[in-house]
């Protein structure tokens, strides 16, 4: 007879993996898109390399946030040392706690990349507007940071719950 109560750690691990995986996928797509735009600008004007490199890297942060959530979750659930036994309810809570970062990370990385590509076009034509061009993709970052915050708060609080 299959015992569901032993599956807590499995769900918790799936949550950690999804946070790292989806954030990473989003960032890989995003940085790839912005990389193409950056290469296009540098082909015509190599002096803009520094500016477009920063804009290229902006959608890369979601991958880092995902990694951070994954790492914190692994530490909390005892996979990286300690006791990995937990109830099914607790495992599901960890799983749910990882979802904001996983989903928002992937979606925001792609949309941030689109904003970055547009900003790279802006820098190509008006390099003196670099400061303003950074703000547009940075606005999308807000929501990735909010997702990171809620995931972190949830993951670090679950350990103290009696479930």
């Amino acid at each position: 007879m299959f015992d569901w109560t032993t599956m807590g750690v499995v769900f918790a691990l799936i949550g950690a993996v999804l946070a790292a995986l989806m954030g990473g996928i989003g960032s890989a797509i995003g940085v790839g898109m912005t990389g193409q735009a950056a290469a296009g600008v540098v082909t015509e004007d190599p002096s803009k390399f520094g500016k477009v490199l920063i804009l290229q890297l902006l959608p890369g942060t979601q991958g880092i946030y995902g990694l951070l959530i994954g790492f914190v979750t692994l530490t909390q659930i005892g996979v990286l040392g300690g006791d990995a036994n937990m109830s099914l309810a607790k495992g599901l809570l960890y799983f749910a706690a990882c979802l904001p970062m996983a989903i928002v990370g992937m979606v925001s990385a792609k949309w941030q990349a689109k904003a970055s590509v547009a900003s790279i076009s802006l820098v190509a034509k008006k390099p003196d507007q670099f400061g303003k061009s950074m703000i547009f993709p940075a606005m999308v970052e807000t929501y990735a940071v909010l997702a990171l915050l809620i995931s972190i708060l949830a993951i670090t609080s679950i350990g103290g719950l009696q479930v």
Partner: protein, 321 residues
């Protein structure tokens, strides 16, 4: 896929910095002579450095534009709306050269999507299977019409109409708004030009029906009916269409109408300055380059013929940047 043009659009954005703007046009206008204009253009990097004649400089610039587009994308299908007129022009030249038995010399335009030699061979052998299907049908019909009637104008009408239909189809199939709108505008404007000329030369309804291509924004039947009556009727019909401004410009002068046509295209493609994806900005860049070449040609012709600055200025097109 909107994302396949990201690299290309970024390069186009950088290239747009080199387009002539209003200040550059004013600088050219301020040149005291034709030679000074050529020197100014040369200083801006126009031409190959070796070419000194205006035509050579302008041809070199057109060539540079297409070389750049070829570098950006291997698939020129979206640009067919711009290439069809050149191809059909070369096809006309090939058919007329073969039927009149004249060896074609300097009659083919460069930059088409089909090698003029292929067209010449097709016409000589009477086998048009090497051409795209719609073009082959039109070529076959135009060839036999010219052979039987010796009417060059009828041959031109068949090929011009086929060209417009191909442009329209290409625009519709592209699933890109800017290409579809450009094709529609090109077709409508060509229909207006045909109707005005036919009206002025007293052509009959049958000629107009054979020459006008059906498009979404102009009713070819109503246009033909109006053109058969009088210019005033034609202008009255146009006033009730999205091309109402055209009537006013035509009343002013034909050159004012042509400037309006070019400016309308420019207004259409200017929206692409805000689009970082899709093939639209590449298409807009080619239009912008053609527009500036056309503007420079007007200035050079004016300077060469020592026309009054005011006369040149009223013909100058809106610039993309």
């Amino acid at each position: 896929m909107t994302e396949e043009y990201i690299y290309a659009v970024a390069r186009v954005r950088s290239k747009e910095l080199g387009l002539l703007n209003r200040q550059d046009v004013d600088q050219l206008m301020a040149c005291r002579s034709y030679e000074e204009c050529l020197r100014t253009l040369s200083d801006k990097g126009w031409g190959t450095g070796e070419s000194s004649s205006a035509e050579a400089i302008l041809a070199a610039e057109e060539e540079k534009t297409w070389a750049f587009i070829h570098e950006l994308t291997e698939d020129l299908t979206p640009f067919q709306v711009l290439l069809f007129p050149t191809d059909y022009n070369n096809l006309k030249a090939a058919i007329k050269a073969v039927i009149t038995g004249v060896e074609p010399q300097d009659v083919f335009l460069p930059g088409g999507s089909i090698d003029p030699e292929v067209m010449l061979r097709c016409v000589r052998e009477g086998d048009f299977s090497a051409l795209p299907e719609s073009m082959a049908q039109a070529a076959d019909s135009a060839y036999h019409t010219l052979l039987q009637t010796q009417d060059g104008q009828l041959c031109d009408v068949i090929l011009d109409r086929a060209c417009l239909l191909d442009v329209l189809n290409c625009g519709r199939e592209s699933k890109n708004d800017i290409l579809r709108d450009y094709a529609e505008l090109t077709c409508a404007v060509s229909n207006i030009k045909v109707a005005v000329r036919a009206c002025k030369t007293g052509k009959n309804r049958a000629f107009l029906e054979a020459a006008l291509a059906p498009c979404a924004t102009l009713n070819a039947d109503s246009l033909a009916a109006a053109a058969c009556k009088s210019l005033d009727d034609l202008f009255a019909y146009l006033a009730a269409t999205p091309y109402s401004e055209a009537a006013g410009r035509l009343k002013e002068s034909y050159s004012a109408f042509e400037k309006w046509c070019d400016d309308k295209v420019m207004d259409l493609v200017k929206s692409q300055k805000m689009n970082p994806f899709t093939v639209g900005p590449l298409f807009a860049y080619v239009i912008a380059r053609r527009n500036e070449i056309s503007t420079v040609r007007i200035i050079l012709s004016g300077k060469l013929n020592e026309l009054d600055d005011g006369m040149i200025r009223e013909r100058l097109r809106d610039m993309y940047v």
